[in-house]
């Protein structure tokens, strides 16, 4: 009953192209937006902002970037962390070279630096495929992190080799730095993420998105239907690295407040990859679901033993936690290899035909 689509007719292609041809989906989205823009800000505590909401959003964005490359264009990348790093260091340099720069502009501009480097490391994808390419992206990963460590200019030669985010305000509201209130940061991140998601949805459902998917599903055939592989792949690297770069800038400037090179090392890349895959490759929604599962769930589970009063040491809890996350990943893959987004789609199908089984 919830998802009755009967009776919703489309009379033009335009209507069919609407983001949500089914009315209930639009309602659901509206509900989520209200939740994100109104309910959470009014109710969430600083802990919830800083350990759940903000990281979930930022990780979703990074996963979205990766998803464009891996899920849509089919180029597996393990270098996400380093590209986030590029975004973060670019933003840091921009803000220190031009201290008066608007933070939003800096964040959006730093994406371009990461995009350019992404394209450079994407060039081999024209020859190298599959897992070979995936390992090749590790070259970017390790080389860039090494560079973050060795190239003093990047961190303004600070003794520790780390970067620190100063206080940055726009129109009297502080958005970054130690004094920034979590709610401001949340809104900044939320708006950026919403904007980029909107753009990403548009890109992926139009001509460019189709070309990417074609390259992913069968690149030879894509070429034989007239798609310029080089252009399509490099564009995917560009857009993906751009988004990842922006996510990296947000990661450091609106959440962490400080960063050292090792932060962008391979575990970060894997984390983002988990999110994209568990969420569902080739899906935008999946990134959010994945981020909720991978980022928020551990925070929640780690509180469970204490809440239940189980006498476990924090180390054991953590070990159990790692085990559970590992098991959950496997479980979800078995349950639905195409990720949470597909799980949701199937559930939705069932809701539409409910109460009939087929």
């Amino acid at each position: 009953m919830l998802y009755r689509v009967a009776g919703q007719y489309k009379t033009s292609y335009k209507a069919d192209f609407a983001l949500f041809p089914v009315r209930q989906d639009a309602w659901l989205l509206a509900f989520i937006l209200v939740l994100a823009f109104v309910v959470f800000p009014m109710t969430a505590s600083e802990f919830v902002f800083r350990t759940l909401l903000i990281p979930v959003l930022i990780y979703s964005l990074a996963a979205l970037g990766l998803n464009i490359l891996t899920g849509y264009a089919g180029q597996l990348s393990l270098g996400t962390g380093a590209f986030m790093g590029v975004g973060a260091y670019a933003c840091y340099k921009l803000m220190t070279i031009f201290p008066g720069l608007n933070l939003l502009a800096a964040v959006l501009m730093s994406g371009f630096v990461s995009a350019a480097i992404g394209v450079a490391f994407g060039l081999p994808s024209l020859r190298i495929k599959g897992f070979y390419l995936a390992i090749a992206t590790l070259a970017a990963q390790f080389f860039l992190v090494w560079l973050f460590q060795k190239w003093g200019w990047l961190y303004n030669y600070s003794a520790s080799g780390a970067i620190q985010v100063p206080n940055i305000s726009i129109l009297g509201f502080t958005f970054a730095g130690p004094t920034a209130p979590a709610i401001n940061q949340y809104f900044f991140v939320l708006c950026t993420v919403t904007l980029i998601t909107f753009v990403a949805i548009n890109l992926t459902r139009g001509r460019i998105g189709r070309q990417w998917k074609a390259v992913r599903d069968m690149d030879i055939a894509a070429e034989l239907v007239g798609i310029n592989l080089m252009k399509a792949k490099l564009l995917a690297f560009f857009v993906s690295s751009y988004i990842i770069g922006v996510a990296g800038a947000l990661f450091v400037f609106l959440w962490r407040g400080a960063a050292e090179a090792n932060l962008f090392d391979i575990p970060l890349s894997f984390r983002v990859l988990f999110i994209a895959i568990i969420g569902g490759l080739g899906s935008i929604l999946g990134n959010y679901l994945g981020a909720i599962l991978i980022v928020a769930l551990p925070v929640i589970i780690s509180g469970v033993p204490a809440a239940l009063g189980l006498p476990l040491t924090p180390a054991t809890v953590d070990h159990l936690n790692i085990m559970i996350i590992g098991a959950l990943i496997i479980l979800f893959l078995i349950l639905e290899p195409h990720g949470l987004a597909r799980l949701w789609a199937v559930a939705r199908e069932k809701l539409i035909i409910w109460p009939f089984p087929h």
Binding site: F17, R207, M218, G226, G282
Partner: protein, 275 residues
């Protein structure tokens, strides 16, 4: 492409500057080998504008390789290809598409994770122009373009009678329907030369009849030139205007279906019993 064609015909009439009956494609002395294997040896033939040209021959004769040479996927070691008066040996496949060569594949090469609609829309990529900026906005010119092309694609979908699977990911479709979607994708490219590699393999009679009808209609109504590989002799003899026969990379016969059918070397090499 001419966008202002009158009538309900879904594809614009083909105006590639070659008059009907003239040579559209000429293959001259082409040879191709892979390491030691000689797939094609010194083959020449032509395809005339507006005809249905069949290529037949036993398995492994080099038919598919021939199509691959024509659309630029393989580069022959010797010989030249002349298409619409332009001579070449090597070219990138996507350039061939831009010149007006489209094809379907022996082992279905669809984009398995995409829906029927998206697959056919992907075929229209070459004709879509809006840049990434507009695409990001979606509303406005990008949407208008999308709708314009969607209309054409819907006509193809109607024509091929695949409305009911419009939104099904093609990977899940039965083989026969996949072949039809593939034809749809090739049609969406609005080619002047359409290469079909065993379009009816794995179909039952009824479906073959349907497919034949589609092919004839494309050929007659739009004037699209077709080169066709097929193992069903009934289909080949009924549809094609001229037939070229390959055997282990060599051309052994070339001519009207009836001549070829009765050619002794063709019977020996390929047909077995006379049909």
């Amino acid at each position: 492409m001419n966008a202002h064609t009158a009538g309900t015909q879904f594809i614009a009439a083909d105006d590639d500057g070659v008059a009907k009956g003239d040579t559209l494609l000429e293959v001259k002395n082409v040879s191709l080998s892979f390491g030691g294997v000689k797939a094609i040896t010194n083959i020449s033939f032509d395809v005339k504008k507006g005809e249905i040209r069949a290529i037949i021959g036993p398995n492994g004769a080099g038919k598919t390789s021939m199509l691959n040479v024509i659309n630029g996927f393989y580069t022959p070691q010797e010989g030249t290809i002349t298409f619409r008066g332009q001579q070449r040996r090597a070219m990138k496949p996507h350039h061939a598409v831009r010149q007006g060569i489209a094809r379907t594949f022996q082992n279905v090469a669809l984009f398995k994770g995409m829906t029927t609609l998206d697959n056919i829309m992907a075929g229209r990529s070459v004709h879509m122009k809006r840049n990434i900026g507009w695409q990001m906005l979606w509303h406005g010119p990008a949407l208008a373009e999308e709708i314009e092309h969607r209309e054409k694609v819907e006509e193809i979908i109607d024509f091929l009678e695949i409305e009911h699977i419009r939104r099904t990911p093609v990977g899940k479709l039965p083989y026969g329907l996949q072949k039809r979607v593939e034809l749809g994708r090739a049609l969406a490219m609005e080619p002047s030369l359409l290469l079909l590699d065993e379009p009816m393999a794995g179909m039952n009679l009824e479906e073959k009849e349907d497919m034949s009808r589609f092919i004839i209609d494309v050929n007659q109504q739009r004037g699209t030139t077709i080169a066709l590989i097929e193992h069903d002799m009934g289909v080949v003899m009924d549809l094609s205007d001229r037939v070229v026969v390959l055997d282990y990379g060599k051309k052994i016969a070339d001519g009207a279906p009836d001549e070829v059918k009765n050619d002794q070397s063709v019977i020996d090499a390929y047909l077995g019993v006379a049909h």
